[in-house]
């Protein structure tokens, strides 16, 4: 087992954890957290794939793509948060219509 494999498997587990949160939690701030966890899990998989050669530092191309991804994830999170705050202001709820009674926050 190598370091790269450990973190890639960690990334795969994080995709699962994020997906579980996304399905079971109705509160939209939780879904934003879950979305970010799925995203960073995928980054770890990509980074793990770029470090399998056992070199001192991983392949720079996936590294650059991941840095781009982290920045794009932040801009999407900011937009999602702005939409959520507006939804709460207009409806008083932080869940999508039809989901508020049956599911967890």
């Amino acid at each position: 087992m190598s370091t790269a494999l450990v973190y890639a498997l960690c990334g795969a587990s994080l995709v699962g954890v994020g997906l579980y949160g996304f399905i079971t939690r109705a509160h939209l701030l939780r879904r934003i957290l879950a979305f970010n966890i799925i995203g960073s899990g995928i980054f770890l998989l990509l980074g793990g794939a770029g470090s399998r050669q056992g070199a001192v530092s991983p392949d720079p191309v996936p590294q650059a793509v991941i840095i781009t991804g982290i920045v794009v994830a932040l801009s999407l999170t900011a937009l999602a948060v702005a939409l959520l705050v507006r939804l709460v202001e207009d409806t008083g709820r932080a869940t999508l219509p039809g989901e508020d009674a049956s599911r967890d926050a």
């Binding site: 079971t24 966890i37 720079p60 008083g92």
Partner: protein, 312 residues
Amino acid sequence: MNPALLFDVALAALAVVAALSAVAGRDLFASVAFYIVYGILIALAWMRLGAVDVALAEAAIGAGLTGVLLIGAWSQLHRKGATETPPGPSSAARLLAAGASASVAVLVAVIFVGLPADGAGLAPAVRENVAESGVSNPVTAVLLNFRAYDTLMETIVLAVALAAVWSLTRDELWGGIPGLRQHARDGGVLATFGRLLPPLGLLVGVYLVWAGSSMPGGAFQAATVLAAVWLLLVMSGAMDEPAIGSTAIRLTIVAGPALFLAYGTGGAFLGTFLGFPADVAGMLIVAIEYVLTVSIAATLALLVAGVPRRQE
């Protein structure tokens, strides 16, 4: 098992536990706190993988700025009473969701393990050509030269995301100022840090761009540090957010992408879009990075600040 690998396994397990606490915990604020802890753990994981540039970006953006954004969102929802916990789904539904998510995780893991091990990836190609990029940090070479296309698009995505956030402004507040006016107690921790840290942050930001050409660092990491300085100045009451109607602020936001686009077009006249000979590329890349840093810093800080809440 050697100690380093043991550390990796423990760190990976901790990250998964923190992520689980963030999605499955009862209290929403605790979940946000766990998410920030999770971001720091992931930054450590990137250090262990040797991806220092990514670790810097993850710590500054993934944990830092996203954390500020989420805490801000929580406090706005809390004020409106929208952080309550309604009854959860049935345990059968939860079990089904857990089974489905675990299957996806296992499938992804199996596919990863099954990837051909002999692929050298693009590392050799980057190593051979890095001398022609004008910089010596291979990650910066990819970001600003070999894959400059992606970075150009990314800076445009940032500006468009900010426009999208601003588009949620109410009509009567258009052109106004994001967030509430912040005040900090004189001589308190926040007011003191608000005076002590900004000059240091500024220095670190300028250094990170310069260092990025040969060592880990670069425009995005530096911009995040500058955005943090901006947020600290606002939070400590030393500075107010600018009005989004301000022409100066709008020009600051588009200056980076516009210059980058002009650079790319200049390259097109010499033969290749975004392509420059090595002897001028290094100097041009650093110049563009400095302008990009200022634009990205302003964009990130304003993305975190959100929609205008007041006029004047």
